[in-house]
Symmetry: C2
Subunit: 331 residues, 2 copies
Amino acid sequence: MAAFSFDKLVIFGVGLIGGSLARALRERGDVGGAREVVGVGRTAASTARALELNVIDRSAALDDDRSLAEALDGADIVLLAAPVAQTRPLLERIAPFLGGQTIITDAGSTKADVVAAARAVLGPASLQPPVDGARARRAHERLGQFVPGHPIAGREASGVEAALADLYVDRNVVLCPLPESRPATVARVADMWRAAGATVHEMAPPQHDRVLASVSHLPHVLAFAYIEQILQSQDAALRFAFASGGFRDFTRIAASSPEMWRDICIANRTALLEELDGYTAVLAALRAAIEAGDGAALEAVFARSRAARTDWQLRAARPAAAANGDSESSK
Amino acid sequence: MAAFSFDKLVIFGVGLIGGSLARALRERGDVGGAREVVGVGRTAASTARALELNVIDRSAALDDDRSLAEALDGADIVLLAAPVAQTRPLLERIAPFLGGQTIITDAGSTKADVVAAARAVLGPASLQPPVDGARARRAHERLGQFVPGHPIAGREASGVEAALADLYVDRNVVLCPLPESRPATVARVADMWRAAGATVHEMAPPQHDRVLASVSHLPHVLAFAYIEQILQSQDAALRFAFASGGFRDFTRIAASSPEMWRDICIANRTALLEELDGYTAVLAALRAAIEAGDGAALEAVFARSRAARTDWQLRAARPAAAANGDSESSK
């Protein structure tokens, strides 16, 4: 367990993801020091349940300037844990109140769009002319306060009631630092996730988005499409009635949040479309083999898939190892 | 628990499916009467493990005429539980030794091809001319001894070691009786599966094959294709390293037997191709919505899918109910 101390952590969006980090840092040992977790919701009401459950110490409301300013005053770290489409409006809302020592990170499932939003809102690109060197430098530094991140963890259940202190234990967190980020800033965000039990990796945003499009976003789209196809059939009820164990596991992710997955599909559309087209091509090849009755071709693909899936299962017990060519941050 | 008594049950292929029925009938109470379960393997060696595990009482070898004749002599019920592609050769091997009182059923995942094999091997179509009325009638009756069936149960694990006495408890078994079958013959096969704990339904073979293509065969193909696509990528190892819980469940069925799924894809190719084409069309529509950034269209599909999947999960605890329009056999 890594040590991580802070005086004030501010979480925007105290649902499953934000709430689980709050619980991890407040309930797991060894975080040390005086500390306070502030939860920010759209309105005061939206954080009431988090307060009731003792997941946060204090709450603030996004729609209230004074409440927001107080929340951000003296904050060590700000975590954006709202749906990824809200990243840019949130950054715009936060920027005027942001102190020079506060680190911002996020938990969004896509990263290239988050980086673009941060550049547009925090970086030199956000400045109205005339821009002098000093202003440009300050904007550059402000952009460097932001460390894009993605904890790869979740449950179908959502909301603060579903938050778990151990959600991140032995899970992977990917950070996508900007060239503008100072190493010490990145290290501090990494330490926070390690204190919650996670293993931390670094990737470039396009690499992150391609990998996640493949192993997470595509299967969600495939599972949603599969249920949709059954619903479009004439005998959907009969089909569902004879669905069994394989169906159950294959479709579990089709019960995920429609809003969240709508946002992810759009935010990561470039990488996702590439994976979708690759998948369609593989499926077309399998279709041709089925139509031709080419048992050898089918068996070859199925056997390769089974071997890879079985091998993955054996390795899945531990978090992503360094054996895969990504640049892991130092432990 | 339904009562079911027999003197001699002969199982061709004592693996997961055949072995589990043997264990259910031998180990679960209330089957009553003197009874014997004979396991038939390709060779004597292939049933040795089933004998060792006490799953069967006696074994016989398919490649030995005398052993096979002894096994089938006086058999009440014969269950074919070998991979579905072996149905026709098995029927051809068995036919010469089959007594007039023996019921034959099978456990294949597809039914139209099994019915065609039974008609070709057992029915009037099997007769060499000249065919007189008496011979035709006997062939008609012999065909009526066969009751196609499909227990919808399984595990990724295969082989007799994986056989479970309770594999069929609260699972669905579909029987696809032929017009030639006598009701008493069908009822006896249904009683056997009920004694193993299953709920028994009846469907016409094309309906069975369409439903199973949709809820079982298609997802297997989709999962195999998905792993194959990752393997074809440049950074497969990195992708696997960041795959998480959603991936795990979505791909579990990609660890299934390549031989078994090769056979099923080919045996049920007509129905499977129809489902595959329907799926590809739904996926193309989703692709267009993603490319257009049409969040409303995506969210509508995702929300419908989630609602249906959630509803299914709530109903899944109990076996298929009569609410779905299929003709259930009497309980």
